[in-house]
Amino acid sequence: MRDSAGAAAMPGFPSPRPELVREDASGEAITVVEKPLSTFEICYNSSWLRKALILVVLAVIWELYARYLNNDLLFPTFTATISAFARNVADGVLPARAWASIKVLLIGYALGVFLAALLTALAIASRIGTDFLETMTSMFNPLPAIALLPLALIWFGLGNGSLVFVLVHSVTWAIALNTHSGFCSVSKTLKMVGRNYGLGGARFIWKILIPAAFPSILTGLKIGWAFAWRTLIAAELVFGVSSGSGGLGWFIFENKNMLDIPNVFAGLLTVILIGLVVENLIFQTIERRTIQRWGMQN
């Protein structure tokens, strides 16, 4: 039971009050209805400016600490790294090494995507295919690609073959797992709509399932890319020259042996830069044009 609020009111009933109607409900005279934001607020709202600010702060901290340490062998300054980077870019060494890495990477990535597509297609086509994919991913996804490198070296020898092999391994499972879980979470209604149009088989997958699962597929592609990039640099560091020139990992390894630490840092910086470019330019553009535009992600 409720308590009575006032002495005059009946228990459990609010006391009667007069009605209230306002004739003049416009508030333009007394408060701001619309006003442009200040320049600082507009700047602060753009994410790339905020990120750029973070990068600048990090660079300053790096520079200050390195100067304080004053030991080029252990920790070169930011400026020394940048000048080493500029020198290596100018004489064409870094671009060539980066390209050597990227070439292998793209081959491995493309093969991995193809294999993942094949596995997921099998998985939606039949129940045994699903079981196969689930078993394979649970076995191989946790297995670090680099752990397969010794075996790959025996099977494929020193060269791009073994690199591509470990790359495919690192890419395939992540993409297949994400794509498959994306397909599984496509709403029943959408699937029924697709079949209502008379779509079936490959057309159904291409026109309904892939766009509907695109957020998961894109996540898989991103994770796959990161795995591949990491694996490649690590693999190059472990066994160095693959083709005639060698890639970025080899560049880092070589310069470490010669104790040219600013060059090592320049190599690492290149790895980071390529990662940033791919993430921010390529993947984010795809994201903006697709899933954000479609309202599948906010």
Partner: protein
């Protein structure tokens, strides 16, 4: 205009499906016939298998007993001659605009292509008063607008029969009333045939011209009634249907006592 035979024949249809634990009989030997131009309602409480029955007409389920025939041909799988309008708002493809959604339906099913598909799509989008939103993506629309697109898409395909599965159930009361009026107006204009599933008695009386009443667990035909227009008669009919469903519940509730 009226052809001699029924457009859709459901003859002695029993539908069963399996859950991990049980074999469920959704409907048991249901018979009914839908004629061209009908607004045929499947009405019943939840669990009477009305949605399952409609899915079977849509071709998503095969009857374990009996037959479903459309224009004399047995229904075996989904097809664009029976367009579905679902209850869920996510039935539009989110990666296509309103216009693309309708055009895609026409092109994917092979009905029309190119300019012809575009014109037909726009014609029906205008009909549901969404001309100004043709290039919007579904996530920018309200629930009622999404359902209107789904109806436009269904009608643009000009199917033999439009299958509507509680299309207004997820809408607020005001929007629902408006959509019901709009649907009737569209029907006045084009005289399509529709099989409409609902659990709301007033909606059934308002939308339908013929109402199939199903009893629950499993769904069996309880009655097949003609709807009425006059508000006074509608109230009487509503009470009558209500009593039919209500008496059913009472007798079921009393069964254990007698047993």
């Amino acid at each position: 205009m009226a052809s001699e035979g029924p457009l859709l024949e459901v003859a002695g249809v029993t539908l069963r499906y399996k859950t991990p634990q049980h074999l469920i009989t959704a409907t048991y030997r249901v018979d009914f016939q839908v004629f061209t131009g009908d607004r045929f309602i499947l009405l019943g409480p939840s669990g009477c298998g009305k949605s399952t029955l409609q899915k079977a007409v849509g071709g998503y389920m095969t009857p374990t007993e009996g037959q479903i025939r459309l224009k004399g041909k047995v229904v075996t799988r989904p097809g664009p001659d029976r367009m579905m309008v679902f209850q869920e708002f996510d039935q539009l493809l989110p990666w296509k605009t309103v216009r693309q959604n309708v055009v895609f339906a026409l092109e994917a099913s092979g009905r029309l292509t190119g300019k012809a598909a575009d014109d037909k799509a726009m014609h029906y989008i205008e009909k549901v008063n969404l001309g100004g939103f043709a290039d919007s993506y579904p996530h920018m629309l309200s629930g009622g607008m999404k359902q209107r697109v789904a109806i436009a898409r269904g009608m643009a395909m000009e199917p033999d029969i439009l299958l509507m599965d509680e299309p207004f159930a997820a809408l607020d009361a005001l929007t629902r009333r408006k959509m019901q009026d709009e649907l009737l107006m569209l029907w006045e204009e084009t005289r399509f045939t529709v099989l409409f599933v609902t659990h709301s008695i007033p909606e059934a009386i308002k939308i339908g011209n013929r109402i199939l009443l199903l009893s629950p667990h499993p769904g069996r035909v309880k009655a097949e009634l003609n709807s009425v227009q006059d508000p006074q008669e509608a109230r009487v009919l509503e009470q009558r249907i209500h009593n039919m469903l209500f008496s059913d519940e009472v007798s079921e509730a009393m069964e254990p006592v007698h047993a």
